[in-house]
């Protein structure tokens, strides 16, 4: 086993063993500490995956369209075409690091504050299990394995919402579980449509279509895209998301918005588009229209929201619309925009949910009408909220800008009346995004303090700062140097476009 393969295994094994260790540690605080250490170790082994393994630099003509830096391929269940095939490349690595980072921040945050409902030990263990599922999804290079990890996330996330959530948590959690399972059973059927037609589940072989007939590709793409559209979520399949986000505890919302949704967009790029390119070309206009509808509707709904967490949740629908628009263009620019939009949304929305959770914890309410004047009583919290909101609305120089701007540019570059219109409408949606975030800021931070805000002290806990500062720095770093993400993603995206657009 090479060093890279060891890292791949470690990225999954460390959080998995960490979850077991957390469950086996009897004392609550010690258990949370063990979990945080495991999450930190996971981040430590996830980062070095970027080094080495550029052996594909030869770019030979017969090289596969997916060229992982490191890979590990072991047989598991030959009867079901399931192999334990892991690999990492420039498309998955940023998401892997983002997942490891957000989980670490969530675990660290839990050290300081455990939401009501259950023991902190169980919460940390579940967070680590969710991390295993998400990381596995990003690393899997076997379709069936991908599906397996996709499913792993479902129940732990359900338990996090149902166990530690708000007043209406059971209904929200059940809705989340059933919707998401609906998506993943379609994924299961889609995966085996592909496997039955191509005779293999290996993503490296399958990327580019593997000679599947047009009919199969259309069917497979429809099933896979529907599955990922539920997870992403794409309008009109998004209705689980606002409830789940509003009811989930802060750390649940952060993981949900920060990385769980990315499983959908990542799957769309790597699996749906990669495996059924003909289907993707066929469905691209529909996907584009739906994406722009999501942007516009998400923004308009946000303008009418009265709850902070719900507003941020709906803003995710709009942002994921930009990501999906980027994917739908099927151009290198568009997919790059989607990837950086994915990462930026994870960083910024993770931060927004942390801040919204902090506001809600302090004031006991999330209703906009009961919040105002936060900058009078808690200037630092208000400042951070303003920073995150502005980053999220896509101010140039911050992370949110690149994904949105380049998704629009990609749509316009594709040309033709349809895509130009879509580009223009998406740009209008971008302006609406600014409108509702500014409305949020005006409401929450300005004016005279409301009774609920009046009692808030100015201080921030050390744990809060520890959790937030990395995200603030990352939002700045990606905004100023987008090449952090785009640099590693360039080669794999070009390779992917090469087979999608022959």
């Amino acid at each position: 086993m090479t060093f890279g393969q060891g890292l791949l295994v470690a990225v999954l094994a460390v959080p998995a063993l960490g979850a077991v260790a957390v469950a086996a540690t009897p004392r609550d605080r010690a258990a949370r500490l063990v979990g945080t250490v495991a999450a930190a170790l996971t981040l430590l082994v996830a980062v070095p995956l970027v080094f080495g393994g550029r052996g594909w630099a030869a770019w030979s003509a017969d090289a596969p369209a997916v060229r992982p830096w490191h890979q590990l391929d072991l047989p598991w269940v030959p009867g079901l075409e399931l192999r334990f095939h892991l690999g990492v490349d420039g498309i998955s690595w940023p998401l892997v690091v983002l997942t490891a980072l957000l989980t670490l921040l969530c675990c660290a945050y839990t050290m300081w504050r455990v939401p009501d409902g259950g023991s902190g030990r169980a919460l940390v263990a579940l967070l680590l299990v969710v991390e295993v599922g998400i990381l596995g999804t990003f690393l899997a290079l076997d379709l069936v394995l991908f599906f397996l990890f996709f499913e792993v996330v479902l129940l732990p996330m359900y338990a996090i919402i149902a166990g530690w959530g708000g007043a209406d948590r059971r209904r929200a959690a059940r809705k989340f579980a059933l919707y998401t399972l609906f998506g993943s059973v379609l994924l299961l059927v889609g995966v085996y449509v592909v496997v039955a037609a191509a005779g293999t589940a290996d993503l490296m072989t399958l990327t580019g279509g593997a000679g599947m007939s047009r009919g199969t590709q259309l069917a497979a793409f429809t099933l896979l895209a529907l599955a990922f559209a539920v997870k992403s979520p794409l309008w009109p399949l998004h209705s689980w998301l606002p409830d789940a986000h509003t009811q989930a505890p802060t750390v649940g919302s952060v993981v949900l918005a920060g990385v769980l949704l990315k499983m959908g967009t990542y799957g769309l790029i790597r699996v749906a588009v990669g495996v059924a390119p003909e289907g993707a070309r066929w469905a691209a206009p529909v996907l584009g229209v739906l994406a722009v509808a999501a942007i516009l509707i998400g923004s308009l709904v946000c303008l009418a929201q009265s709850d902070v967490k719900r507003l941020i949740a709906y803003s995710s629908v709009g942002h994921m619309g930009f990501v999906l628009l980027g994917v739908a263009t099927l151009t290198a620019t568009g997919i790059q925009a989607a990837l950086i939009g994915n990462v930026a949304h994870g960083v910024i929305t993770g931060l927004l949910f942390f801040l919204a959770g902090a506001v809600k914890d302090r004031t006991g309410t999330g209703t906009l009408a009961e919040l105002s004047g936060l900058r009078e009583t808690a200037p630092r919290l208000a400042g951070l909220l303003a920073f995150a909101a502005i980053a999220s609305l896509g101010l140039p120089g911050l992370a949110g800008f690149w994904g949105e701007a380049f998704a629009v540019i990609a749509a316009v570059q594709v040309g033709g009346p349809l895509w130009t219109t879509l580009g223009v409408l998406a740009a209008v949606g971008g302006a609406l995004t600014a409108a509702y975030f500014l409305r949020l800021l005006r409401q929450v931070t300005h004016n005279r303090p409301s009774p609920a805000v009046g009692q808030v002290g100015p201080g921030l806990a050390g744990a809060e700062l520890t959790a937030w500062v990395p995200l603030v720095l990352l939002a700045l770093a990606i905004g100023l140097a987008p090449t952090l993400v785009l640099g590693v993603a360039e080669a794999p995206v070009d390779a992917l476009i090469g087979v999608v657009k022959p």
Binding site: G79, L154, A162, L181
Partner: protein, 499 residues
């Protein structure tokens, strides 16, 4: 023609062992008359049967009672698998029965004897080579159950359940026999392989209305045994009235028996063009109705009963692929049979674990109770509740219940290989409905107990804890470990089912 047949006693060893167990149990009960000894003999006998079946099955296929090329006893890979699984299920159910037997709810000797008899039917069933052996084996499996269902002393529900089960089952057997008789009238054969060959060679026989009627009647009769919709109405009432361990046996070994019988006639005797559409329809109805009705259940065992109706739908689903021409190629057919068998094995392991979980969480000798009785169980008994939860999640087909996930995957894969994408979608969507109620039970386990308030529940208050009988804990642990092992290495089952 030589009248004296040579009999291969090695091939018959599993049947000897199973029947011997029953006799030995009866004698032990008469002579020793100590419940512990009786149960021990029954359990050891069943284990011996499992070992013997595995040893015989490990070798090449053995045939005996042959007339020409047609044999009434064919002990091959699948027969061995069925025999081993039935014998092990019997051991498990015996273990689950210990608390009820100790509480004096049922007479021990009779109980163990009847269970061993039923096991004998199950062991013979897999090896049956002709319709008469098949039906007699199926009846040997079922007949003791009429009594076992009604064996709870002083329970009216138990007696009612027994009568329901008896009446329905007798009608089903009559139908099956009628079907067999009609087939004999058409073809003059009763051996499964001979029937299959005759019907394949002579299309004019296949097209006779009488043949169609015979196939339909035979399938309907067997569909009663697996509790497929619309022949399912007996199952929930019977399960709920029966003692818990007997309900566990009904939903595992008895259901497996029905499936094996169905598989035998569909695979070897009947023309796929005629059985395919019927089975596809049965599968769709069974899983959909079972899941939808299970959503509304408040009693634990009724919920499990309806869920096992739905699971029967998943088991039948791969056979539904035979409805399409693409599903009738040799390769797709064998994949479908193997998938149905594999699903059944995954299912019985998880179902036994689920029933063991209910038994472990309920007072000794009690019935399944309502879902509210299980509320907050995880706070009092974290390990037992975790095992029960794992089984439920497995039945729903989700990680961490990987065995159940792979079971669903196997079915979907076989269907798509057979070109029956529509049926695969129905299976997939049904899995979503299924999750709704499995999740409700699982969530109830971890929910705070309602009446005494969350604080008391956290402190270990609420309903009093239930001491677990050691044997039940062992059965639960073994079934859970088996489910986990099959989840990590499903290839074991896939290989055995394909033999």
């Amino acid at each position: 023609m030589n009248v004296v047949q040579s009999v291969d006693s090695v091939a018959l060893l599993p049947a000897y062992l199973a029947a011997g167990t029953a006799v030995l149990v009866l004698i032990t009960d008469l002579l020793v008359a100590r419940p512990r000894a009786t149960i021990a003999v029954a359990a050891l006998g069943a284990l011996g049967t499992a070992v013997g079946s595995a040893l015989v099955g490990a070798g090449a296929e053995r045939r005996t009672f042959c007339v020409g090329a047609d044999c009434s006893w064919i002990f091959g890979g699948r027969a061995a698998l069925v025999a081993v699984v039935v014998a092990l299920l019997t051991v498990g159910v015996l273990g689950l029965s210990v608390p009820a037997l100790r509480a004096g709810r049922s007479p021990v000797g009779e109980y163990a004897f009847l269970l061993a008899c039923s096991m004998t039917g199950g062991v013979v069933l897999g090896a049956a080579g002709d319709l008469i052996t098949l039906i007699v084996a199926l009846e040997t499996l079922t007949l003791p159950l009429y009594v076992l269902v009604g064996l709870r002393r002083g329970s009216l529900a138990s007696a009612e359940a027994a009568v329901t089960f008896f009446v329905v089952s007798v009608v089903a057997t009559t139908l099956t026999l009628l079907g067999a008789a009609l087939l004999y009238a058409v073809t003059g054969g009763l051996h499964l392989d001979r029937l299959g060959a005759l019907l394949a060679e002579q299309p004019e026989l296949r097209n006779l209305p009488l043949t169609t009627a015979a196939v339909a009647v035979l399938l309907v009769g067997l569909a009663f045994k697996v509790a497929a919709v619309p022949f399912h109405a007996w199952a929930p009432a019977t399960y709920d009235g029966a003692p818990l361990p007997v309900a566990a046996y009904l939903s595992t070994a008895s259901k497996l028996g029905g499936l094996v019988a169905l598989l035998a006639v569909v695979q070897r005797a009947l023309p796929a063009e005629q059985t395919g559409p019927v089975l596809a329809l049965l599968a769709v109805l069974t899983m959909t109705v079972g899941n939808l009705v299970a959503l509304r259940q408040r009693r634990t065992v009724r919920l499990l009963a309806w869920s096992s109706v739905a699971q029967a739908g998943y088991i039948l689903a791969p056979l539904g692929a035979l409805a399409l021409a693409a599903g009738r190629t040799d390769e797709a057919r064998s994949a479908a049979y193997a998938a149905a068998m594999a699903y059944a094995v995954f299912f019985v392991v998880l179902e036994l674990a689920a029933f063991a979980g209910v038994t472990a969480l309920r007072p000794a000798g009690a019935d399944g109770g309502t879902l509210d009785d299980l509320r907050g169980a995880a706070r009092r008994h974290p390990w037992r509740a975790a095992a029960f939860g794992l089984a439920l999640v497995g039945l729903a087909g989700l990680p961490p219940g990987l065995a159940g996930l792979f079971a669903k995957v196997t079915v979907v894969r076989a269907l798509l290989d057979g070109g029956a994408a529509w049926l695969a979608l129905v299976v997939a969507l049904n899995a979503v409905i299924g999750l709704a109620y499995y999740l409700r039970v699982t969530a109830a386990l971890w929910a705070p107990a309602t009446t005494p308030g969350p604080a008391a529940a956290l402190a270990g208050g609420g309903a009093p804890g239930v001491p677990v009988v050691g044997v039940v804990a062992v059965v639960l642990a073994v079934a859970t470990v088996a489910a986990v092992v099959l989840g990590v290495a499903p290839q074991l089952v896939l290989d055995l089912a394909a033999r």
